[in-house]
């Protein structure tokens, strides 16, 4: 039903989205987690993904970074990510292509995933030195700047085990930014944090939104935060986008019944 020839080798034109999911399906074994997903994210846009547990939110992000897809094509910055151009035809990407194609994407995880044997600064310098080939000095300068941005300068020589969850997550954000990504992915970056430190992380993300022109895709359970900073909200249900719109549309005037149910359930839980 779905031949690769139907997909363009690259996206041209005036408003090429930064990320485009085209008819993307993702399965784990027999379980279809995402079905026929179509989603465009414009350059500089901040999109939040909300929805019940198991609806496929995390999977949307992981397909951009960690998982292979079963059908469809994902484009990043106009170039195919999941496929590569071989003699004028799209074929599934190999490991090496994937690695370079993913370079413009940065990701932050629910459980930070900092390297425990490196200090905060070393964590940030690792990618720039090893992957981008910067000199130690350039990488250090860049990393110190970013640690400053996330308010972690003072702790730059500490190992992650000496940092609180909120501090670790801020270092993780700096580490991802040090690769100068065009797209940032945040997967429930505040879910593993104690309530009193959530603010330090959300404030960093707010700052990114207001001061940088990053494209961001964020999965979150914090509705208030999503409403504040997003350009658009996507409500996922059962592996599909049930409804999407501006924060005011979606939170103020949800059209679909499932959206209304979900939002009122979340509200009463708060």
């Amino acid at each position: 039903m779905d031949t690769l020839t139907a997909y363009p080798l690259k996206l041209d034109g005036t408003d090429v989205p930064m990320v485009r999911f085209m008819n993307v399906t993702k399965k784990y074994g027999a379980l279809t987690v995402l079905e026929n997903l179509n989603l465009d994210i414009a350059e500089g846009e901040m999109v939040s993904i909300i929805g019940p547990s198991g609806s496929g939110k995390t999977t949307v992000l992981r397909m951009l970074m960690l998982e292979q897809i079963n059908s469809g094509v994902i484009y990043v910055d106009g170039r195919p990510l999941t496929h590569m151009n071989k003699n004028g035809a799209l074929v599934p990407a190999d490991r090496r292509y994937l690695r370079t194609a993913r370079e413009p994407i940065g990701m932050c995880f629910q459980h930070f995933n900092l390297f425990p044997h490196m200090t905060a600064l070393q964590n940030c310098m690792e990618g720039p030195v090893q992957v981008l080939g910067l000199t130690k000095r350039e990488a250090r300068e860049r990393s110190e700047e970013l640690l400053e941005l996330v308010g972690m300068s003072e702790k730059r020589d500490q190992h992650p085990s000496r940092l609180s969850g909120g501090q670790q997550q801020r270092v993780a954000i700096a580490r991802a930014l040090a690769m100068r990504p065009k797209v940032m992915l945040f997967d429930e970056v505040t879910s593993a944090l104690d309530p009193e430190v959530i603010g330090e992380v959300t404030n960093v993300i707010r700052k990114l939104v207001s001061e940088h022109s990053l494209t961001m895709l964020m999965v979150t359970h914090q509705m208030g935060f999503a409403r504040d900073i997003s350009d658009r909200i996507c409500f996922f249900f059962g592996g599909r986008i049930e409804e999407q719109g501006t924060p005011d549309e979606l939170f103020g005037n949800p059209k679909r019944e499932r959206t209304q149910q979900f939002l009122s359930a979340v509200k009463s839980a708060d």
Partner: protein, 222 residues
């Protein structure tokens, strides 16, 4: 009945101490081989190449379930059948190094499996290559939890070196045997050998524990 002779014990001690040096060298050299080869065996079992990892897995099982002393004989005597003569030291180091590399590969394997999946994902998110991922992130984290097991096998290899005497490596047991048959007295040499082994292996266990906690602190994990 109990005729321990101090003068004889005293007389043979220097010779035993020299042989202890050889024992330590043998254990050290064998251990070096085992450490490196063990890592190779562990990594080979993690390749996506199914057939390779299966072969290596079976090889490790084979080495681990057959006697070291038999392996020592095998390595020593099989060479000449093909016109390669290995001297006792070389054959002994190959056999004991190989034997313990199989054990160490299991230790490393445990260490690798203990590295959380998130660490791999973080490396992918930084576009690190497979080699960079292993060298910079995975191996440094797989080693500290392996230190305890590695230490146990260091003591183990030391205690197994007497088996090298069967092909004529001049280590402690070999010397004690020689002394015994020269003088028709086995009480003192064999007892002294036992004491020397105790005197080295008991404190080592404690030292290894200290070393382990030092490594963990050094690497910043604790």
């Amino acid at each position: 009945m109990f005729d321990w002779r101090w003068d004889f014990a005293w007389e043979i001690l220097p010779r035993l101490i020299v042989a202890t040096g050889n024992t330590l060298i043998a254990a050290g050299a064998g251990y070096l081989i085992a450490i490196v080869l063990g890592l190779v065996l562990a990594l080979a079992q993690r390749t996506p190449l199914r057939s390779l990892s299966w072969i290596v897995r079976e090889f490790v099982e084979f080495i681990r379930s057959t006697p070291l002393v038999l392996q020592i004989f095998f390595v020593f005597y099989v060479g000449p059948q093909f016109g390669v003569r290995l001297d006792p030291w070389t054959a002994g180091m190959i056999a004991i190094g190989l034997h313990y590399s199989a054990y160490l590969s299991e230790v490393y394997r445990g260490g690798f499996e203990a590295v959380p999946k998130g660490q791999w994902e973080a490396c992918t998110s930084l576009s690190m290559s497979m080699r960079q991922t292993y060298v910079r992130v995975i191996i440094p984290q797989a080693l500290p939890p392996s230190v305890a097991g590695m230490g146990n096998y260091l003591v183990g290899i030391f205690k197994d070196t007497p088996m090298l005497s069967v092909i004529g490596v001049a280590e402690l047991m070999h010397a004690a045997n020689a002394i015994g048959s020269e003088n028709y007295r086995f009480l003192e040499p064999f007892t002294l050998v036992g004491i020397i082994f105790l005197a080295i292996s008991l404190p080592s266990a404690g030292l290894i524990k200290l070393f382990e906690s030092w490594v963990r602190r050094r690497i910043g994990i604790d």
